[in-house]
Amino acid sequence: VKYRLIGVAMLGIALALSSDAFLTVSNLLNVLRQASLIFLSASGLTLVIVGAGLDLSIGANVGLSACLAAAAIKSTGMLSMGFGAGLACGMAIGILNGLMVTQLRLPPFIATYGMLWMLYGVNYWYMKGDTIYGFPPEFRALGSGNWLSVPIPVYLMVAALLAGVIFTRYTTFGHEVYAIGANAEAARLSGIPVGSRLILSYTVSGAMAGLAGVVYLARLNSAEAGIGDALLLPAIAAVLIGGTSLFGGSGGLLGTLIGAIILTLVLNGMNLLTINTNWQPLVTGMIVLLAASVDSFTRRRTESRA
């Protein structure tokens, strides 16, 4: 995390020096708001990856949850129904993922990859090419409103971060997920209920994707079947840049937050400096590789010291 904070600081200083629009309160809040949308979907994913799993279905989950939430609000007129539908949908998908991984013993990559395709199919069938749009201002405030001049998604991000950090660092459950990620067999032998812990971590991931879907819906004021398609790769990038290892057992949410902020800064900086944003994926890829190299370097050093 130390190196990453230095990285963010350097990126920030470079942008501040090259564009006067960067270091303004309104732009920094704008960066945080954009980062919060990535962070929400990446936070549950972080937990799954810490437990040595993977959830490839989050983008499709966000899409289906957003569409169901949209339909629920449109048909009942009640915002609570939208919330309920989005969260319930996300959570149900998470539980299914968890069951496939633990009960059917499918590798997480395959289970959630299959889930991704099924969710696309269900969503295309459900939406039939339509767009659901036009929601009441109270609902849209969740995505684009401010409270005490700070965007509301930023509060959601901070709340998710705090809950997640407390959960992973100060509860037995959190420690158990790390233990499972580090060595599932050893964790089982020491009496940790591996199956139920994994199901719970996939459920959290699904529920966070459902929440992200509702926030996306509020931010975009519209839902179409493809709404979540572009979210999966940035979410994985945020987790990896944040230093959570795909082998499990290490990393955490603070890193993912930094990863989400770095990703957002890249796009923000390119826009402010009017650099062609076609270069954005290339830069993102370089940052992912850089972060991974730094990790493997420091890990090797600590190992040789021990």
């Binding site: 090419g129 975009l220 179409e224 390119m270 826009n271 944003t277």
Partner: protein
């Protein structure tokens, strides 16, 4: 396990025999004139524009007493999937095909398969770069965006700052649309282009890019988006930042028309997707019935604004196709 396998075999057998019984008996229907079948290929399930075209095709089918069968890739704009759908369609021997290629170059071999099978093809919306066609019918993207941009610049009294939100770089309709925008910029020397960035034809990308550009530039008077979804994303960004600018989009989707009605979107330029869907099917049927079809039809352009959106504000399900002669004037 063996028992399971036997069950599977029985189930399969029952399914097959049912399917065989379900086949229509060919001999009985010989005296009845056979309804022509038209295979319609659209690009994806997600873009409402293609849904409009599919609905229009069904309206035309009803009017002409033919059957239209849809082929839509499940993965949006998938080249291999559309290619295999062409092969599937050919085995069912439709009388004609109305074809929107997901890629104008990569699908040329698909068109050649139709040609080899002697199934006549009408090429709709995006021009395929090769193969034999009865007719090409489409909209000139360059002219649509040129006209829509001119409309915006006139509303701005010929001066002010604008940004362009481009679509997916490299796609041919994006190149034409951005080209049209830039041509209009040349005609209005006091309009200043602050930035031209890609929103990848997606609402969320356009929203974030607009968010960022609003931070970089104190004064933005106009936003030109290469499709409606991006224009609506830009409007959400403006609302969130409490800023005002005149926004235009391209496509004339229902959502955009509603935004025009609500006074949020200045205008959206379009060749009516409904008319295109109708004409594609009508052209194919005319060819089958030995009536003349021009080699090329370029549809007229409409810029929908607060004065004329009513024309587009009719639900597609209750619309009828225009008569052929209204569009094709010899």
């Amino acid at each position: 396990l063996r028992k399971q396998r036997r069950t599977v075999a029985i189930v399969l057998g029952v399914c097959l025999s049912l399917a065989a019984c379900g086949q229509p008996k060919e001999s009985g229907s010989a005296d009845q004139p056979k309804r022509e079948t038209i295979a319609l290929f659209t690009k994806n399930q997600t873009n409402p524009y293609f849904k409009t075209i599919r609905l229009a095709a069904q309206a035309a089918a009803k009017a002409l007493n033919v059957e239209v069968v849809d082929f839509v890739p499940t993965k949006a704009d998938s080249i291999p999937e559309q290619m295999s759908q062409i092969e599937d369609a050919i085995t069912k021997r439709p009388d004609a095909a109305v074809f929107i290629p997901v890629d104008s170059v990569a699908l040329v071999p698909g068109v050649e398969k139709f040609n080899a099978a002697k199934i006549p093809v009408v090429n709709l919306v995006d021009r395929a770069e090769g193969g034999e066609f009865v007719s090409f019918m489409g909209c000139d993207d360059y002219t649509v965006s040129l006209e829509t941009a001119r409309y915006l610049f006139k509303k701005m009294n010929g001066k002010g700052n604008v940004i362009i939100i481009e679509g997916m770089s490299g796609s041919s309709n994006n190149t034409k649309r951005v080209g049209g925008f830039k041509k209009a910029l040349e005609e209005f020397p006091n309009i200043k282009l602050l930035a031209s960035q890609t929103g990848k034809f997606q609402r969320i990308d356009a929203l974030q890019v607009t968010d960022n550009l609003l931070q970089a530039h104190r004064q933005i008077d106009g936003i030109l988006a290469a499709n409606d979804a991006m224009a609506l994303g830009a409007i959400e960004a403006l609302d969130g930042a409490n800023r005002k600018a005149l926004v235009i989009g391209i496509n004339g989707t229902k959502e955009a028309i509603d935004a025009v009605k609500a006074g949020k979107l200045l205008a959206t330029g379009d060749c009516d997707g409904f008319v295109q869907g109708c004409m594609g099917v009508m052209g194919a049927v005319r060819h089958l019935r030995n009536q003349p079809v021009p080699k090329e039809i370029i549809f007229p352009i409409t810029v929908f604004d607060s004065t004329n959106y009513q024309g587009a504000d009719v639900p597609y399900e209750s619309r009828n196709c225009p008569p052929w002669e209204k569009i094709v004037k010899e």
